[in-house]
């Protein structure tokens, strides 16, 4: 169902395992690529062409941003992007292509479950002074304000989801 929903909202899905992740991510990014640590997943960007923890200027030069999703909503094809001190929100937003990485266990069935999770464990990240901020993202940014539907408004024009399976 998650796969169907992603297709409907215009997100490319790549399934991978920890072993094949490096090849999958290399394939998915359009360089130059920057990223933040993939918390909540068993994989890492360390051995990939993605530059971890970029400077703001490096981020502006990048074409692709790679960030983790803490949760996904199967029937909508939505992913929850945490806004943390590592700058994930910036890396997922100020780029043309966003690659989001998530563990298959992060997929929840529906919106009600997702929001119960948000409300129950508001602060599921490291040292936080309050509830975590997050973006529930569904597909690329879009607008219909210029006379027709256009994918790629202020945010990413293109989104790929990499689902890490056992």
């Amino acid at each position: 169902m998650f796969a169907d929903a992603l297709e409907r909202v215009g997100v490319t899905l790549s399934r991978t395992s920890a072993a094949t992740f490096e090849a999958t991510i290399t394939d998915a990014v359009d360089p130059p690529a920057v990223g933040v640590p993939l918390t909540g997943t068993p994989v890492s960007l360390a051995e990939t062409p993605v530059s971890l923890d970029p400077t703001p200027a490096e981020l502006r030069r990048a074409t692709t941003g790679v960030t983790p999703a803490s949760l996904a909503v199967a029937d909508y094809g939505s992913v929850a992007l945490p806004c943390r001190s590592d700058g994930a929100e910036l890396v997922s937003l100020f780029v043309d292509r966003h690659v989001v990485v998530l563990d298959e266990s992060a997929v929840t069935p529906d919106m009600e479950t997702a929001f119960e999770r948000f409300a129950e464990s508001p602060s599921d990240s490291e040292s936080q002074s309050g509830p975590e901020s997050r973006i529930l993202a569904t597909g690329p940014s879009a607008t219909a304000d210029m006379g027709a539907l256009v994918q790629g408004a202020h945010g990413p024009k293109d989104v790929t989801a990499i689902l890490v399976e056992d």
Binding site: L93, Q128, G139, D145, G152, A153
Partner: protein, 758 residues
């Protein structure tokens, strides 16, 4: 209420874009809500959350203040626009900001904060592409979700090419979007303050939800070090978990998307690092997220609305725009015609009355005809037509009483007790008196009414447009006819129903043939039928905002009908707007717990709905009715005319326009099913409303709008495949409008199926 708005100009210049876009939104809404497992339950859940939150609002605001303060943020509760603007100015000045970048927010439009900041020398940039186009064009939003809905792609291209002179000139939507993205991207990255609205706010965590698609709200917050969120106090709900039904409903209800691209859930302790995009030294993880957060909660009349039993529902509004999109008049004139200082569409009457006052609401309130097409579309189940009626009633009571002409007062005896509606409204509202006089003196009354000087007088004094044909009163009313005949119930063993056919005003005085056809049809199906004297429903006064008068009618109608129901009668109603009155508005006018009312509404049916029940559940002899091959022996004035003759074997089929309120009550299907069972080939229209909407289309102020709306219906009735079909409609207004739109004579469905002389 007179209006000096130039609807003709709006319909010409903005109407085509507005219609095209709102129709696309509606189509998306129908498809999108159909994909939900239980749309109705989700709406009820959303409604319940809002009811509870508004009930507990003071406590929730206190809880919210604490949650935000604990995380180092600030909540400012502003009494009014000026108070809010003073606070925002202070925050911007303290930050020493040169530029504020904004995402779309109707509440900031409401307080007109842009003008205030600009006067301080601050560069205020709207970053939502639609809002930015309007900022460049120096125009106001015409739709609460798609602010530039009235502008075409060509118009936007001309505007940007003229202002920015790009080389090569912009043409496609992609080029326009890319240009705006680049232009605004630079402005966002060098701004100090990001200002957003808030669609929902969680009291327990201080988390705000922003519902967006472009990514500009995300950027405006992430790229700046000061975030000011501006929202009405009504946006507060208990917890983030309460956001879920709204997140599922808001996009579907508005633009017809299952969900928008981004739902930002931002807490006051948002950790996203504050960056300088020129910095090529410091990695993101070493920059801190030291961002100031200010939540400005605006009262601006909302507390008073909360205390107001009638306007309170307005506060449940989530500003989705469904009531705009589903409104036939909005589709024609857009929000510049059907809107106030800030808000537009049906719910705007509640907002503008509460925030700006009755004068502002009075400027556009009459564009709500009460057709009720927005009622099913509203994700929080607000009875938007009722709010419009209440506000109209209040406007009437505030009207100038010295303007009355004593000569015509005789026609309008039901003067409301304190303050009276304007003369034209009282004329339309007291149509019962007019109709009684009309029948009593017919045909002379009809000849007189049509004389030139009288039409001139009616237009000048009463606002009845000269271009409309007036209803033709019958000398013998439907009730008189029924009283003077011997009933002819066919012996049918399986059916033993006793039925009251409600003699609504139009059926009784004007379109008597459809009443007679109803009696004949029900008798043929084995019912014992009576047509007792019952007062008119009160629809006419209610639509003019004369609530007190309408309540008198409601009480009388329920008193009479409940006696019949107690004796075992069912009630059959021919006129859908009266049926809707019984089913919907009477609950508002009378004690909703009233046993008498529920006893009546439980046993009340639209005529074809009743026929459907008799035929499908009680084996009534449907073959006694007239199918396409049977042909009618007689043709009355509201029969189908030449095309409806139904010559055996070559019936052209019918094209059925269901009444707006009938569709809201889910009663279109019954008529279609009965016609199809009898063998008619049925096509249907899908326009929201015929445009006549009771008295609306008769009013000089709105004749042009009414005809523009009607033009959509004409297009469907005369479309390929429908052109030769017999037009069929259930509502009086619809029949009259269709008569003025096309050459074929429309007929009521019961006239089509009534038993012939066999």
């Amino acid at each position: 209420m007179g209006t000096d708005r130039d609807y003709e100009r709006l319909m010409r210049t903005e109407g085509p874009s507005v219609r095209q876009n709102t129709l696309a939104f509606n189509e998306g809404r129908y498809d999108s809500v159909a994909r939900l497992d239980d749309y109705e339950a989700l709406k009820s859940e959303a409604r319940a959350i809002k009811e509870d939150a508004i009930e507990r609002l003071p406590d929730l605001i206190e809880e919210l203040r604490e949650a935000v303060a604990e995380q180092g943020g600030h909540v400012y509760l502003a009494d009014d626009a000026e108070d809010a603007n003073d606070y925002i100015r202070e925050v911007v000045a303290e930050r020493d900001a040169d530029r504020v970048v904004k995402s779309k927010s109707m509440t900031t439009e409401e307080i007109e904060v842009n003008e205030v900041l600009e006067a301080d020398g601050v560069d205020v940039v709207e970053t939502d592409l639609g809002e930015w186009v309007l900022q460049v064009a120096d125009e106001a939003p015409s739709h609460i979700v798609a602010p530039a809905i009235h502008k075409s792609r060509e118009g936007i291209a001309d505007l940007l090419n003229e202002r920015f002179d790009p080389d090569p000139p912009l043409e496609t939507a992609e080029e326009l979007t890319e240009f705006a993205r680049e232009h605004l991207g630079e402005l966002i990255e060098s701004a100090e303050v990001g200002m957003t609205g808030a669609n929902f706010i969680a009291a327990d965590s201080g988390t705000i939800a922003l519902v967006t698609s472009e990514g500009n709200a995300r950027k405006s917050v992430a790229a700046t070090d000061t975030h000011i969120a501006v929202a009405g106090v009504e946006k507060v709900v208990p917890s983030v978990a309460d956001f879920a039904p709204f997140v599922e409903l808001i996009g579907r209800s508005g633009t017809g998307q299952d969900i928008t691209s981004y739902i930002s859930l931002l807490s006051p302790s948002n950790q996203t690092p504050v960056v300088d995009f020129a910095d090529d030294e410091t990695p993101l993880s070493e920059l801190d997220g030291d961002r100031d957060f200010h939540l400005v909660l605006i009262d601006n009349g909302r507390t008073a609305m909360r205390e107001d039993d009638q306007l309170r529902e307005t506060l449940y509004c989530i500003r989705c725009s469904a009531c705009s999109n589903s409104c036939a008049n909005f589709q024609s004139v857009g929000g510049h015609g059907f809107g106030g200082e800030t808000y537009s569409g049906g719910i705007a009457t509640g907002w503008e009355a509460g925030i700006e006052g009755l004068d502002t609401a009075a400027e556009f309130n009459d564009l709500c005809t009460g057709c009720s097409r927005c009622v099913d579309a509203c994700p929080v189940e607000i009875d938007i037509p009722w709010i419009n009626t209440v506000v109209r009633d209040r406007i009437n009571r505030g009207a100038d009483e010295s303007a009355f002409d004593p000569l015509v007062d005789g026609l309008t005896p039901d003067e409301e007790d304190s303050g009276s509606p304007p003369l034209g409204k009282r004329f339309f509202g007291n149509f019962e008196t007019v109709a009684k006089l009309g029948s009593a003196t017919a045909p002379v009354s009809n000849w007189l009414a049509d004389l030139g000087p009288n039409r001139w007088f009616m237009e000048r004094a009463l606002g009845v447009d000269r271009r409309r044909d007036l209803p033709e009163f019958r000398r013998e009313t439907f009730r008189e006819w029924a009283a003077n005949r011997t009933s002819a119930t066919a012996a049918v063993e399986s059916v033993d129903s006793r039925v009251v056919v409600y003699p609504d005003l139009y059926t009784n005085h004007v379109r008597t043939e459809r009443g007679k056809a109803t009696v004949r049809t029900l008798e043929a199906l084995g019912c014992e039928v009576v047509v007792p004297p019952v007062r008119s429903s009160g629809r006419a006064p209610l639509s003019q905002g004369m609530i007190r008068t309408a309540t008198d009618h409601a009480e009388a109608v329920v008193a009479t009908l409940s006696e019949y129901v107690a004796e075992g009668y069912d009630v059959v109603v021919v006129e859908p707007s009266d049926l809707a009155m019984f089913e919907r508005e009477y609950e508002r006018l009378l004690d909703s717990e009233s046993d008498a009312l529920s006893s009546v509404t439980d046993r009340t049916y639209e005529v074809l709905e009743y026929v459907y029940g008799l035929v499908t559940q009680r084996d009534a002899p449907v073959d006694r009715l007239t199918g396409p091959g049977d042909g009618h022996a007689e043709a009355g004035p509201d029969a189908g005319g030449t095309a409806a003759g139904g010559r055996s074997g070559d019936h052209p089929g019918v094209v059925y326009h269901s009444h707006c309120q009938q569709r809201t009550l889910d009663l279109e299907a019954h008529t279609v099913a009965v016609l199809e069972q009898l063998g008619y080939d049925v096509a249907t229209t899908d326009v929201e409303c015929c445009g006549m909407a009771g008295s609306f289309g008769y009013k000089t102020d709105y004749y042009e709008v009414s005809m523009d709306v009607g033009e959509q219906l004409r297009g469907q009735l005369d479309a390929d495949g429908n052109r030769d079909r017999v037009p069929v409609a259930s509502g009086t207004s619809c029949l009259e409008q269709i008569e003025s739109l096309i050459a074929r004579r429309p007929t009521h469905p019961v006239r089509l199926i009534e038993p012939g002389d066999r």
